[in-house]
C-alpha cells in the first residue's frame, strides 16, 4: 500500500495556502501534496479547516495567499479547467427538490458534458450502484429521506467518473448499508486510479484502504503520519 505514495504524479499541491471565511483564517498556511491514486483521510476537531480545505481543492474558494494546484492547474486562474474532473460531496446534496432522482442524476450527467447515450447508460449504472430501489427513482427528491438523498447525490457524482474525489463526511446520515456503499465506492474509485481526499471522524470506515492520515488543527497540518496501515511517517 505504501508504494502507491511514492513516485506518483501530484494531484493536489498546496503551498502555504491561506483561506479566509469572512475575516477568519480557516486555513492558515497549509502545505500538502497528494499524489495520484492516494487515499488521504483528513482528521481534526470541528472547525479545524477540513471542509475549507476540501472546498479550496474543489476551486470553490479562492486562496488568500499561497498556491493551490489541482490536476496540474493553478486554481486561481484555471479552476474551470479542473472542476469537471473533480467531485465534491459536501454537506448539501446539490439536488433539485422538485425533480425526481433520475432527472437530477441525468441532468448532472449531461451538465458534465456526457452525450445522451453516455448519460443514459451511466445514470442507470450509478443508480443501481447506489442501491436506490426502482420505486424511488421516479420520486421527487423532496420526498426522500436524508440517507436516500445522500445516495442520489453520490450517484450524481459517480456518473462523472472524476479523477479526484473530495468527500466531506461521506458517511453522515447513512445507515449501515449506505455506509457500505460509500466504502465500496471509494474502493472502486481508487481501483480505477482516482485520488480520494476524505474528511471523516470514522477512521475505521476507510482504514481498510490504508489511507494516509493527515491531521488538521487550527487551519494548519499538524500531523501527516503516512498510511494508517503502518506505512510510516510521511513528514
Amino acid at each position: 500500500m505504501g508504494d502507491r505514495y511514492r513516485g506518483g504524479v501530484p494531484v493536489v499541491e498546496l503551498r502555504g495556502a491561506v483561506a479566509l471565511l469572512g475575516n477568519f483564517p480557516a486555513l492558515a498556511g497549509v502545505d500538502l501534496t497528494v499524489e495520484s491514486g492516494e487515499v488521504v483521510l483528513l482528521r481534526g476537531p470541528n472547525g479545524a479547516g477540513k471542509t475549507t480545505l476540501l472546498r479550496l481543492c474543489a476551486g470553490l474558494i479562492r486562496p488568500e495567499s499561497g498556491s493551490v494546484e489541482v490536476l496540474g492547474h493553478d486554481l486561481v486562474h484555471e479552476r474551470r479547467s479542473v472542476r469537471r474532473r473533480v467531485a465534491l460531496l459536501g454537506h448539501s446534496t446539490g439536488l433539485y427538490a422538485d425533480l425526481t432522482v433520475t432527472q437530477n442524476v441525468y441532468f448532472w450527467a449531461r451538465a458534465a458534458g456526457l452525450t445522451v447515450a453516455e448519460a443514459t447508460q451511466r445514470v442507470a449504472s450509478a443508480l443501481l450502484r447506489m442501491g436506490l430501489s426502482e420505486r424511488l427513482l421516479g420520486q421527487p427528491v423532496h420526498t426522500l429521506s436524508a440517507g436516500q438523498r445522500r445516495r442520489a447525490s453520490l450517484a450524481a457524482l459517480v456518473v462523472r467518473r472524476p479523477e479526484l474525489w473530495l468527500l466531506d463526511e461521506p458517511h453522515a446520515g447513512l445507515d449501515q448499508s449506505g455506509r457500505d456503499v460509500v466504502d465500496a465506492l471509494v474502493g472502486d474509485a481508487v481501483a480505477a486510479g482516482a485520488t480520494v481526499l476524505v474528511s471523516s471522524h470514522e477512521l475505521e470506515r476507510v482504514a481498510g484502504l490504508g489511507p494516509r492520515v493527515v491531521t488538521i488543527s487550527g487551519g494548519v497540518v499538524v500531523d501527516d503520519t503516512g498510511p494508517a496501515d503502518g506505512g510510516g511517517p510521511r513528514v
Binding site: 474543489a58 476551486g59 470553490l60 474551470r80 472542476r83 469537471r84 473533480v86 467531485a87 465534491l88 459536501g90 454537506h91 448539501s92 446534496t93 446539490g94 439536488l95 433539485y96 427538490a97 422538485d98 425533480l99 432527472q103 441532468f107 448532472w108 449531461r110 451538465a111 458534465a112 458534458g113 421527487p140 450524481a156
Partner: protein, 227 residues
C-alpha cells in the same frame, strides 16, 4: 461550430431543467398567473372606471402587472440555484456561465410569454380592448419578454449573491426595467389602438434593451455566480 452547438445544448439543458421544475411545482400556473390576473382586477376596482377609461390605460396596466409578476418568476428562478448546494454543484459541473445564463433566461422568458398570453386574455375580457395590429403586439411582447427575462435573470443572480434577494430584487430590477415598461406600453398603445404613437419605433427601443440585457447578462453571469 461544434462549440456553438455545445453551448446551445448546454443552454437548452438548463432551460429544460428549469421548465421541468416549474412544470412539476406549478408555481407560475398556481401562483404567478393568478397574482397577475388579480392585479388586473384590482386595477379595475381602483380606477372604478368604465371600459373606455380602462382601455385607455390598458397597456400600462398590462405591463405593470407583467413586471410585478415577473419579480415572482425571477425570484423563483434565482432561488433554484440557492437550494441545498445546487449552485456549488453547478460551479463544479463545468457548465459555461453564459450558457447557464441563457438557459435560465430562456426558461423565465417562456414563463413570461405564458403570463402575457393569459394577461392579454384578461385585457380582452375584463377591459374590453381590441387588437388593431397583432403583429406589432406579438413582436413587442416577445422583445419586452426577452428584456425582462434577461435583466431579471442577471439581477436575480446579483441579488442572490448579496444574500438579500427577496427584499432587494424589486429595488434593483424595477428601475432598470423602466425603459422596457415605457417602450412596451407605448408599443401596446399603438397595437391596441389606444393612442396614436409610432409603436414600431418603441419596439426598436425594446429590441435594443433586449440585446443589451442579454449580452451584459451572458458576460457578467460568470462573475456573479463565482463571487
Amino acid at each position: 461550430m461544434s462549440e456553438v452547438r455545445r453551448f446551445l445544448g448546454d443552454a437548452r439543458l438548463v432551460a429544460a431543467r428549469d421548465l421541468r421544475i416549474e412544470f412539476r411545482s406549478r408555481v407560475v400556473v398556481g401562483q404567478v398567473v393568478p397574482f397577475a390576473l388579480l392585479v388586473l382586477v384590482l386595477f379595475g376596482f381602483a380606477l372604478d372606471a368604465d371600459h373606455r377609461t380602462l382601455r385607455t390605460f390598458a397597456s400600462g396596466l398590462f405591463w405593470v402587472a407583467v413586471l410585478l409578476s415577473a419579480l415572482l418568476a425571477v425570484h423563483r428562478s434565482a432561488a433554484l440555484e440557492q437550494s441545498d448546494g445546487t449552485l456549488d454543484a453547478l460551479r463544479m459541473s463545468g457548465l459555461p456561465p453564459a450558457a447557464l445564463f441563457i438557459g435560465k433566461a430562456t426558461a423565465v422568458f417562456v414563463q413570461l410569454v405564458v403570463l402575457e398570453v393569459v394577461l392579454l386574455g384578461g385585457l380582452l375580457v375584463l377591459y374590453g380592448v381590441q387588437v388593431v395590429d397583432p403583429v406589432l403586439l406579438v413582436v413587442a411582447g416577445l422583445l419586452a419578454g426577452v428584456a425582462v427575462a434577461a435583466a431579471g435573470t442577471l439581477y436575480g443572480a446579483l441579488a442572490s449573491g448579496l444574500g438579500v434577494r427577496e427584499t432587494l430584487l424589486p429595488i434593483l430590477l424595477l428601475p432598470v426595467l423602466a425603459p422596457v415598461l415605457i417602450g412596451a406600453t407605448r408599443a401596446f398603445d399603438d397595437a391596441l389602438g389606444a393612442v396614436a404613437v409610432d409603436g414600431w419605433a418603441w419596439t426598436g427601443l425594446l429590441a435594443v434593451a433586449a440585446l443589451i440585457a442579454t449580452v451584459v447578462g451572458a458576460l457578467a453571469h460568470g462573475v456573479l455566480i463565482e463571487d
